[in-house]
Symmetry: C2
Subunit: 190 residues, 2 copies
DNA sequence: TTTTTAATTGACTGGTCAATCAACAAAACA
DNA sequence: TGTTTTGTTGATTGACCAGTCAATTAAAAA
C-alpha cells in the first residue's frame, strides 16, 4: 500500500498546486517556488520529480484533460439513445468540477500555452478531436451534416466556457450554459 | 501636419510591434526589448512613451478592440433591416483583419490578461457588452428571447474564434465561421 | 547492523528583464 | 546666433527565477 506512495503523492500535490496557483494568479506567470510552497515542498523537489517547469505545466494540463475525459466516459456509458448521448457529452463538458474557478482559469491559460508549446498543442487537439468525434457520432443519425453541427456545438461549448471564465457576474451558470447548447442542438438536428 | 507627428508615429509603431510580437511568440512572454527592437527603437523609448510594460499591452489591446468597434460601426451604418444588422455584426466579428494570426493570438492572450489586470478586464467587458447590446438590439424584433439568443451567438463567435486560433488545419475559415453563426441565428429566431 | 536506495532540501549560479537615469542629438524657437 | 524643448539612447541597477548540486535524512534491503 505504501510502495510508490510518496512519489505519487508528491506528484499529485504538485499538480494540484499548479492548477490552484495558475487559477489564483490568473496567468501562467507563477514560479516553481510558489507552486512548491503551496504543495508544501521545496522547489528543488518539484524539479526533481518533473524536470522542468514546462513538464509540470503539461502534467497539470493532462490532469485536467483526463478529468474531462473520464467525466464524459462515465456519462456516456449509461446513455442509450443518440439524444441521451448528446446530453451526456454536453453535461460532462459543463460538469461542476470543470467549472471551479481555478480549473477554468487553468484551462484558459492552457489555450495560450497550446500556441507555443507543441506538446500542449497536441494535448488540446486530442481533447478537441475526441469531443468532436463524440458529438459527430451521436449526431450521425440526427443531423443532416453531423460534422458541421458537431463543430458548431464544440465551438459553442468553448465560447460559453470563456464567457464564464471572464465574468464575475451576469454570465450564465453552468446549468444554463449546458441548456443553451442543448437548445442549439435541438434546433440544429432537424 | 507634423506637429505631434513623431510621438504618434512612435506610439503607433510600438503598439503594432507589441501585437506582432505577442502573435509571433504566442504568449505575453515578450520583453519590452523585443518589442522595441521590432519597432526600431530602444527599450528606453518604449518606457518613455508608455511608462510601463503593462500600459503598453493595454494600449495594444485598446487598438485591437477599437479595430473591432470601428469595423462593426461601419458595417452597421449601411444595414437597414434587423437581419442585415445581424449579418453586419457577425461579419464584422469575422472580418479578415481580425483573423490575421497575430491579431487572433493577441486577442487570446488578452483574455488571459483580463483575468488579472483589472484595466484589461474592463476593456474586455466594454467590448462584450457592446457586442451583446448590438446583437440584442438587432434581435429584438426577431427572437422571442433576444438576450439569450444574443448571449449564445456571442459565445459562439468567441468559441469559433478560439478554434481558429489553435488550429493549423481543419478549422473553419473565417467565412465558414461567419456562416455558422448566421445559420445558428436563422434557426434561433423562430 | 550495515549498506544501499529514495526523498528532500538549502544554497548557489547564470541569466533575464523592467525600469531608471544621465547624457546626447536634433528640432523649434527667440 | 544661442537657448529651450523634444526625442532618443547606452549603460546600469535591482530584483527575480529556473534549474543544478552537494549534502542530509529516512526508509528499505541485505
Amino acid at each position: 500500500m505504501r510502495r510508490t506512495g510518496v512519489m505519487a503523492l508528491r506528484k499529485g500535490a504538485l499538480v494540484n498546486a499548479t492548477i490552484a496557483e495558475i487559477g489564483r494568479e490568473g496567468s501562467l506567470d507563477v514560479t516553481v517556488g510558489q507552486i512548491a510552497k503551496a504543495a508544501g515542498v521545496s522547489s528543488a523537489l518539484a524539479h526533481h520529480y518533473f524536470g522542468s517547469k514546462e513538464e509540470l505545466f503539461l502534467a497539470a494540463m493532462r490532469a485536467i484533460l483526463s478529468g474531462f475525459g473520464t467525466e464524459a466516459r462515465v456519462r456516456l456509458a449509461t446513455a442509450k439513445t443518440p439524444e441521451a448521448r448528446l446530453r451526456a457529452i454536453v453535461e460532462a463538458s459543463f460538469a461542476p468540477q470543470n467549472f471551479q474557478p481555478h480549473v477554468i482559469s487553468a484551462w484558459l491559460n492552457f489555450y495560450v500555452m497550446a500556441q507555443h508549446v507543441p506538446a500542449a498543442n497536441r494535448l488540446l487537439r486530442v481533447y478537441q478531436r475526441r469531443l468532436a468525434a463524440n458529438l459527430t457520432h451521436a449526431l450521425r443519425a440526427l443531423s443532416p451534416s453531423p460534422e458541421a453541427t458537431a463543430a458548431t456545438a464544440a465551438a459553442l461549448i468553448d465560447g460559453l466556457y470563456i464567457r464564464h471564465a471572464l465574468a464575475d457576474a451576469g454570465a450564465p451558470d453552468s446549468a444554463t450554459a449546458a441548456a443553451r447548447v442543448m437548445d442549439y442542438l435541438k434546433v440544429a438536428i432537424r
